[in-house]
Amino acid sequence: MEPFGKYCSGVIPLDRTNVDTDAIIPKQFLKSVERSGFGDNLFDAWRYLDQGEPGQDCSARPVAPGFVLNQKRYRDARILLARDNFGCGSSREHAVWALRDYGIRTVIAPSFADIFFNNCFKNGLLPVSLPVADIDRLFDLAQGDDGLNLEVDLERQTLTTGEGRVYRFELDEFKQHCLIEGLDDIALTLRYESDILAYEESRRAQMPWLFEDIT
């Protein structure tokens, strides 16, 4: 996983609550057996006027001009701003892959669904929760004439506007560390092999049926 460094970017205001993972990446694109290549189909049903299918050339498709991703001013922005309960619904990690493939590295919302939130950290995506009042203010700025640029500093856990206003966010220390270093979870867990083995041996002795193989 790529380490998460400090960066500056424009902010895309997606003014919707309960953005579900079906909306982030519709089901037809889940048939892929790959881990990348989802960026062109991010928010497919909202972004295009036609019905998307896997393997299409998306540059030739009619786009929904009103949708934020299609507005010229937000074209290069790499931070997504949304409302409550972002990423609800299905566990599909494809939703995170689609955001990442599009170039989004940070999503800011008042709250996130649990599975989506977890999936972010496995893919170098930073979900930032801020109080609703701050989110309202960021929406005003991002939708305003000048738009909004933010500096994301994961080390200091801050978002900073061009005018120098600082929004501090909370994050679990372990998750922060893994993101910054781009650490592989599995390698970390494998360091505890002896603990896992000890657990298995004691459980197997007490409850052998838990270890009966599915055949």
Binding site: D15, R16, T17, N18, D20, D22, A23, P26, K27, Q28, L30, K31, S32, V33, E34, R35, A45, Q51, P54, G55, R83, D84, N85, C88, G89, S90, S91, R92, E93, V96, S111, F112, A113, D114, I115, N118, N119, K122, N123, D172, E173, F174, D185, I186, L188, T189, L190, Y192, D195, I196, Y199, E200, M207, W209, L210, F211, E212, D213, I214, T215
Partner: protein, 467 residues
């Protein structure tokens, strides 16, 4: 010793280690795999030269993409076929048991697991699917994970996690006839909202929960995620035990006795503390119907489509307006006047034998309304299908004009050929009514099996009891 909740007990018995900040390594007893969220996990194993730690702790079955029509040939959609074939190849390479498309045990992963006794009380159960909460009905700590975590479990048999908070929803009172577990959980989701349970493990308790069969409890736990909770739980009791006894992977003989002694402890202690508590009176509950594009947008069958202008919160108001527009509905319309195009009975929410019986009960001796272009019954597994056929339910459905299909996820998420066309309106026994969920532009109303059956017969929503 302080009193513990059921969730506390399950969490504690699976701790491999815990850091001072609460980050823990928890042991996973069972992983269920399906074709959509596993290929990248297996590819990760291959790339890193890793192997599954306990291949026999996994059970795989293709369900999302499989056709529900004739299966004698190969899958017509080449992309879907590749994914299903990839699961088979991966399972073969890594020594994991898969119930293939021609296996009578094949079906929806959340129907198959409990049916085989592959998910048991006191286990931790994961799957790359948010509806894994279903297995909590057996007193197992079960939840959905992403593909990276699927890979993590394959390699380490563990997950990195933090403890959730405890919520209890006490359902008391006996629901009237025609009101099912599905109506209870839709009412709960309506009460909590789609994020009300975020960060919590929900235990369903109370006389209304106890009175449910294991199948009904699975329907309840299945949709905990629709209230934001990854985990739904029901304490173990005699109903749980009699459901499990004799199932393929349930312990036998002396081990069964030993297991039962332990399983009987899988209840919340009397003075256990919950971080949040809610109550639902089931006795006055009417059958529920969703009207919008989020499962929390739900009303009783005798209600009307709600009016967004009555809301104070402008953001919520905007959501409702957008939902009504997408659904093609006008505020104030009585629910019973909503006319349907299609009906779907099935899914991990309501694809079990009890669900098919409830629907067949309403359908018996009647016919699907002329305006309904398609009415599907998709059993949750091959064994459910066989059981239903042994009871003659397939004949009741077919005679009425329903299509009787092969098991799979089908029109719940429309990854196979079963789907809605734009603007088509469907009464569905599944769990999500998101935009496009059942097909691009499709309009979904979530209901119970009895309600879906009544809607198929009448062509519009109707109280199943009135039929």
């Amino acid at each position: 010793m302080t009193d513990k909740t059921l969730y506390d007990k399950l969490w504690q018995t699976h701790l491999v280690r815990e850091e001072s900040d609460g980050t823990a390594l928890i042991y996973i007893d069972r992983q269920l795999l399906h074709e959509v969220t596993s290929p990248q996990a297996f590819a990760g194993l291959r790339d890193a030269g890793r192997k599954p730690r306990r291949p026999g702790a996994n059970l795989a079955v293709a369900d999302h993409n499989v056709p529900t029509t004739d299966r004698s040939g190969e899958i017509a959609d080449p992309v879907a076929r590749l994914q299903v074939d990839t699961l088979t190849e991966n399972c073969r390479e890594f020594g994991i048991t898969e119930y293939g498309m021609s296996d009578s045990r094949q079906g929806i992963v959340h129907v198959v697991g409990p049916e085989q006794g592959a998910t048991l009380p006191g286990m931790t159960v994961v799957c790359g699917d948010s509806h894994t909460a279903t297995h909590g009905a057996l007193g197992a700590l079960a939840y959905g994970i992403g593909t990276s975590e699927v890979e993590h479990v394959l390699v380490t048999q563990c997950l990195v996690a933090k403890k959730m908070r405890n919520m209890r929803i006490t359902i008391d009172g006996v629901p009237g006839s025609g009101v099912s577990a599905k109506d209870l959980i839709l009412a709960v989701v309506g009460m909590l909202g789609t994020s009300g349970g975020t960060g919590y493990a929900i235990e369903f308790a109370g006389s209304g929960t106890r009175a449910l069969s294991v199948e009904g409890r699975m329907t309840l736990c299945n949709m905990a995620i629709e209230a934001g909770a990854r985990v739904g739980l029901v304490a173990v009791d005699d109903i749980t035990l009699s459901y499990l006894e004799g199932r393929t992977y349930a312990p036998k003989g002396a081990e069964w006795e030993q297991a039962v002694d332990g399983w009987r402890q899988l209840v919340s202690d009397p003075a256990a503390r919950f971080d949040a508590e809610f109550h639902l009176d089931a006795s006055g509950l009417r059958p529920q119907v969703t009207w919008g594009t989020s499962p929390e947008m739900v009303v009783s069958v005798d209600g009307v489509v709600p009016d967004p202008t009555t809301l104070d919160d402008p953001i919520r108001q905007q959501d409702w307006i957008r939902a009504l527009e997408y659904m093609g509905l006008v505020a104030g319309t009585p629910i019973v006047e909503i006319v349907l195009d299609k009906v779907f009975i099935g899914a991990c929410t309501n694809g079990r034998i009890e669900d098919l019986r409830a629907a067949a009960e309403v359908v018996r001796g009647r016919s699907v309304a002329a305006g309904i272009s398609q009415a599907l019954v998709v059993p949750g597994s091959g064994l459910v299908k066989a059981q239903a056929e042994a009871e003659g339910l397939d004949v009741i459905f077919r005679k009425a004009g329903f299509e009787w299909r092969e098991p799979g996820c089908s029109m719940c998420l429309a990854m196979n050929a079963d789907r809605l066309q734009p603007q088509e309106r469907c009464a569905a026994t599944s769990n999500r009514n998101f935009e496009g969920r059942q097909g691009y532009g499709g309009r979904t109303h979530l209901v119970s099996p009895a309600m879906a059956a009544a809607a198929a017969i009448q062509g519009h929503f109707a109280d199943p009891q009135a039929l």
